[in-house]
Symmetry: C2
Subunit: 321 residues, 2 copies
């Protein structure tokens, strides 16, 4: 680490907005001070991004690491139907982390923060004995009592997903198989696997679905469809039947990627079969993939063979393998 | 790590309050949902606790690590004059972390959280390739616009500190010199160095000083008096003169410990010389240690030799040594 902590904080402080909108006091005091609008609830999420677990420096350019660690948290805000308000970045760096890496990381992070008017209002810095650790917290807001929860799915609802599934996992697999070198920065957005490097949180879609009272239950697909749909069913005490022939599988991805690959950061929601759910928003498709059923458990059918149980097989830390 | 992430989350969820007071939705959805009271501001802080940097498993019992990582963040809430509302715990564990360690950590964390009615409302879990990493976020609340900032010190103010200084640093030095083995759990509170193992955040004092409009500026002493007083002076664009003969030095601690040792988590504040500041609260002394001066820079005098510049020499990550 080429600079002192105090200098790192000064650099971040210079590049972050001081105070804007609800953020009354940003970086530089013991706490940030945020003024909520009357009649609004605050939603809060935190997400770890750990070198060697969530990213690798030889695979991910620093801009992608900065983008992804904030996108993960923004995606949780989208899944409540909320608007981002402020973010906080805790960043631990090994002494050997090059300043250039830190600059790229902050560039990726702050660019995404700015796009969603999400003021960087605080955080913490530390040295790390081994790899880089980022922990990102985002605060969002929405009208009181209107958060879209995982627990609201009703028997008979239609199950929808936004965008396409499996793209991030397919991109990750290509990295694992070393089929692609670390991409040059400029070509990143266009390439296959950009869903892996620069996933887009579905903030506007989440808010639209909440405002128009379309979604009964909602979650973002961070751990994989199989895991996240099971979360919704458990919290709602219902089951689901998924039609695999309807799944919007991403280009270059397989059914396995779409079912169990995490980090797509699309939204999964359930809505009344009578709800007027648009088929796309701003070019992003919204696809029906199945129904909410009575009883427990998620099943999948290909319309040919017998329906099978779809068990959670998404991302699981601490797994033995 | 003996258990799966999903099981770890289930364990934490079982032991945490689900929803209480302002926490409408706690652990178990994409975000926590918090309902602020009308006319209140939210204050937010985050604090890293990293194995090998902030604690060592051979020095600190797990209860102390859990306690300290929350106490650090609560101390920031105290320094604004706010009341804690909810906390969030991001916890990364090496696969080899014993379940017993996790249990002890959570016991220390949750006991302190309960004491301050600070609901554990969310967080994140992850595996870690090397040591244990905890990142703690706390949200607090206070009446709108009433936060006590670092920037409010006025020329002529008296400078005060709560409690005694240097105790944590003295405890740490004893650990470094291996003069004390890892203490048995039951004897921890009574022993020398308990300020190091179980620091007490000064929540009630911070709130009292804010409610009674006594403190013009306030900070918690986490990095050491020399560093934190310099922060207040920089943000307030003033200087200070400290009288070393007045410093409330902790038992077994030296002047050096009191000036530059961090992690005491006492409050430092400035108040008008006419303010009726109590000399103690609930058995904790409040001590005058100097004055706020015109011009920049912090000076220290022992009333005998010429005043010297007191430069920030507290805790600094990324320092080369």
């Amino acid at each position: 680490m080429p600079i002192l902590e105090s200098e790192l904080i000064r650099q971040i402080r210079r590049r972050a907005d001081r105070s804007s909108g609800p953020v009354r006091i940003g970086i530089g005091d013991d706490c940030a001070v945020i003024r909520p609008r009357g009649g609004e609830d605050i939603v809060v999420t935190t997400d770890f991004s750990i070198e060697g677990v969530h990213f690798r420096r030889d695979w991910h350019p620093p801009e992608s690491v900065g983008h992804r660690c904030l996108a993960r948290a923004l995606s949780d805000i989208a899944a409540m139907g909320a608007q981002p308000m402020a973010c906080f970045l805790s960043l631990a760096l090994a002494k050997s982390t090059p300043q250039k890496w830190v600059d790229g990381f902050l560039r990726g992070f702050l660019k995404l923060a700015e796009r969603y008017s999400c003021t960087l209002a605080g955080g913490d810095t530390s040295s790390s004995l081994s790899g880089i650790v980022a922990d990102v917290m985002v605060l969002g807001s929405l009208p009181s009592g209107k958060a879209v929860l995982r627990s609201g799915a009703k028997v008979g609802d239609t199950v929808y997903v936004t965008g396409s599934l499996g793209g991030a996992a397919a991109g990750l697999q290509r990295l694992q198989e070393q089929k692609v070198p670390q991409p040059a920065r400029k070509s990143l957005r266009g390439m296959t696997g950009s869903q892996h490097f620069f996933p887009e949180p579905r903030i506007a879609m989440g808010e639209f679905l909440r405002q128009n009272k379309l979604a009964h239950a909602m979650i973002d697909i961070s751990d994989g469809l199989s895991t996240d749909l099971n979360h919704v069913c458990e919290e709602s005490r219902v089951g689901a039947m998924i039609n695999s022939t309807l799944l919007p599988i991403a280009k270059h991805a397989t059914l396995e990627h779409a079912l169990h690959g995490g980090e797509d950061y699309e939204l999964l929601f359930t809505a009344s079969p009578k709800a007027k759910v648009p088929v796309e928003m701003a070019g992003v498709p919204i696809t029906e993939i199945g129904w909410v059923t009575r009883g427990r458990g998620v099943y999948i059918t290909d319309l040919t063979s017998k329906p099978k149980r779809l068990r959670p097989r998404g991302w699981e830390h601490f797994r033995k393998s």
